[in-house]
Amino acid sequence: MAVMTVLEAVRQAMLEEMRRDSRVFVMGEDIGARGGVFLATDGFLQEFGEQRVIDTPLAESSIAGIAIGAAVNGMRPIAEIEFADFVWPAMNQIVGEASRIRYGTNGNKFAPLVVRMPYGGGVRGGLYHSQTIDVVFAHQPGLIVIAPCTPYDAKGLLKAAIRADDPVVFLEHKRTYRLVRGEVPEEEYILPIGKADIKRAGSDMTVVSYGLMVHYCLEAARKLSDEGVEAEVVDLRTLAPVDRETFLESVRRTSKAMVVYEDNRTYGIGAEIAATIAQDAFHDLDAPVVRLAGPDVPAMAFAPPFEAEFMLSPEKIAAAMRDLAAY
């Protein structure tokens, strides 16, 4: 098996799907000659030409809207939003339009597009290059929302997203792009959408997370292991439709639960996970469900101490795990 970064896995997934299916094309800002600001489409222009690698004007609403139209008319567009923070002008096209096309036409039409976007903090991105915006998509029925954290998951899930017959928001944590390396099989594989993955088995508590935070949770779990506490780490992978069964089954075994997410805390993904556990696994719980998340400030601030304060870390997560273990 080859070892590669998350970024290379994303690039290979698109490359393979474009070679396999002439309906697949990429569009977005700076994805042509530049190869994307993160180089996710490096070399695509040379291989596929301007027809299938479309450098768009700087206009996010139309990037999404054009992708919708092309998808409805039989293509498989992959639209890149340069940073998730820049998606707001396109929000109406994604949340208000793409999600409802199948529903609002009684199944007469569907829009199989993928909107990829790098998201997340810890990269000195300030207010407008750090946002975690997953929950606004995950709240909208009709959208599939995927947020992988390893190269293996990123490749297998992006290929599944491209082949899916529904609109997919594909969130790539930009700090994982080059930081996280992992094994990826040489042969083709597709991962199922809507299935969580237990990244670490443990019997003392269930920690539910996704994205970069999964790696921090795993690091924290290793520390706690030295102290005799075994945490099970569940990676949601798909945020919508969410796989409730995997984390509920885990909580029923461990009797303690924590949700860890990078977004600000209030009304976040953690609220849904915690509420689901409270409702469906209440009698198995030995402690209140813990939400560990960012503070309720408008966005991640730029100065290093501000950013460090906003972001969770393996240390912060380990401390919360210790408290939960001791409850």
Binding site: F25, Q51, R52, T56, P57, A59, S61, S62, A64, G65, I66, A67, I68, G69, A70, A71, V72, N73, G74, M75, P77, P89, N92, Q93, G96, E97, R100, I101, R102, Y103, G104, T105, N106, G107, N108, K109, F110, P141, G142, I144, A164, D165, D166, P241
Partner: protein
């Protein structure tokens, strides 16, 4: 009138009609027939609204000539239509029946475009590529550019027609769509039905220039402003634009000046913001009597044909009303379907 000049029962969807740059006498009579049917149906749905049976109506009255001309000048068997909410004539022209549409106005089972999920005339057709989706004004414009892009990528010589009003022209999506279409020389017609009001806001408060078509120059393609009460003029312009689009010549912006003979919707009262003089002038630009006089003068329409067309329209609408009123509402278990693909 020779016998083969009688109006055919077929609509523009039949694919039998040979399109050329000039309309034939049967074409003109068929256009008039669809306009009369649209007007009759439009009047009926307002009545149903006032009876408390149709929740909302947006009249196409005043827009009929432009709408029928645009469909006649294009090819519903292969072209794409992304319309907005004031398009009753367009829907009849591409082949929907009064019953299909009345089931929409009354939200009844068997409504073909959205299964009763959406406002009347919204959703998508199965047999014709007509898409009428959002009430967030202007979203169809970039989507239409995407539809046209897909055709261009596959080398298919189809035309995408995207319909919008003067209100939508103020949206950022309108600018973004035209800009992209110009860059890629997409096979698309931007068909702007300018009735001079965005609900109550007049043109003078929507734009500082005289015509929306003038903006085309900024996107690198031609734009024209036409009298939207003249179906022949609109036909010729759309036909030429469609031919150019099919041959790689890129987009055209066609702005048709029309009248909105009724308030914005059945929930609006235009006397609150339109003067008596404005309303009087508006009524003088009703395209139906104008087109009728034109056809009579050319010897295409006589009293007998006129009466037959209108009585047939009334019969069709009466029968469809009866059937739609008798139809049940959709089953509630249907409304959770089609959120995602059904495996």
């Amino acid at each position: 009138m020779p016998p083969d000049d009688s109006p055919s029962a077929a609509t523009a969807t039949s694919g039998q009609r040979v399109r050329s740059s000039k309309l034939t006498r049967p074409d003109l009579l068929e256009m008039y027939r669809v306009m009369a049917l649209s007007r009759t149906l439009d009047e009926r749905v307002w009545l149903l609204n006032r009876q408390g049976k149709a929740a909302i109506v947006a009249a196409a009255q005043g827009h009929e000539a432009a709408q029928i001309a645009c469909v006649f000048a294009t090819d519903p068997s292969r072209d794409h239509y992304l319309i907005y909410y004031r398009e009753l004539t367009t829907l009849l022209a591409v082949g929907l029946t009064p019953l299909d549409l009345l089931k929409g106005f009354l939200s009844k089972e068997g409504e073909p475009m959205s299964g009763g999920r959406q406002f009347p005339t919204h959703g998508a057709c199965r047999n014709v590529d007509l898409f009428s989706f959002s009430n967030v004004v202007g979203t169809q414009l970039p989507q239409a550019a995407g539809v046209a892009l897909a055709d261009k990528m596959r080398g298919e010589p189809n035309v995408t027609v995207v319909y919008f009003g003067d209100g939508a022209a103020s949206q950022g999506d309108c600018h973004e769509a035209m800009n992209f279409a110009g860059i890629h020389r997409l096979p698309i017609i931007f068909f702007c039905e300018n009735n001079r009001y965005a609900i109550s806001v007049p043109l003078s408060k929507q734009m500082a220039v005289e015509n929306i078509a003038a903006r085309a120059a900024g996107y690198g393609f031609p734009g024209v402003t036409l009298d939207g009460t003249d179906p022949i003029g609109v036909y010729e312009a759309v036909y030429a634009a469609a031919e150019r689009a099919r041959n790689g010549g890129g987009p055209t912006l066609i702005e048709v000046m029309v009248e909105r003979l009724f308030p914005h919707t059945s929930d609006d009262d235009h006397t609150r913001y339109r003067s008596a003089e404005d309303l009087r002038q508006m009524r003088s630009r009703d395209p139906l009597p104008t087109f009728e006089a034109q056809l009579r003068k050319a010897g295409i329409l006589d009293d007998a044909t006129h009466d037959r067309i209108w009585s047939e329209a009334k019969r069709l609408v009466n029968e469809a009303t009866e059937e739609a009123e008798a139809a049940p509402y959709p089953q509630v278990d249907q409304f959770t379907r089609h959120v995602f693909a059904e495996s």
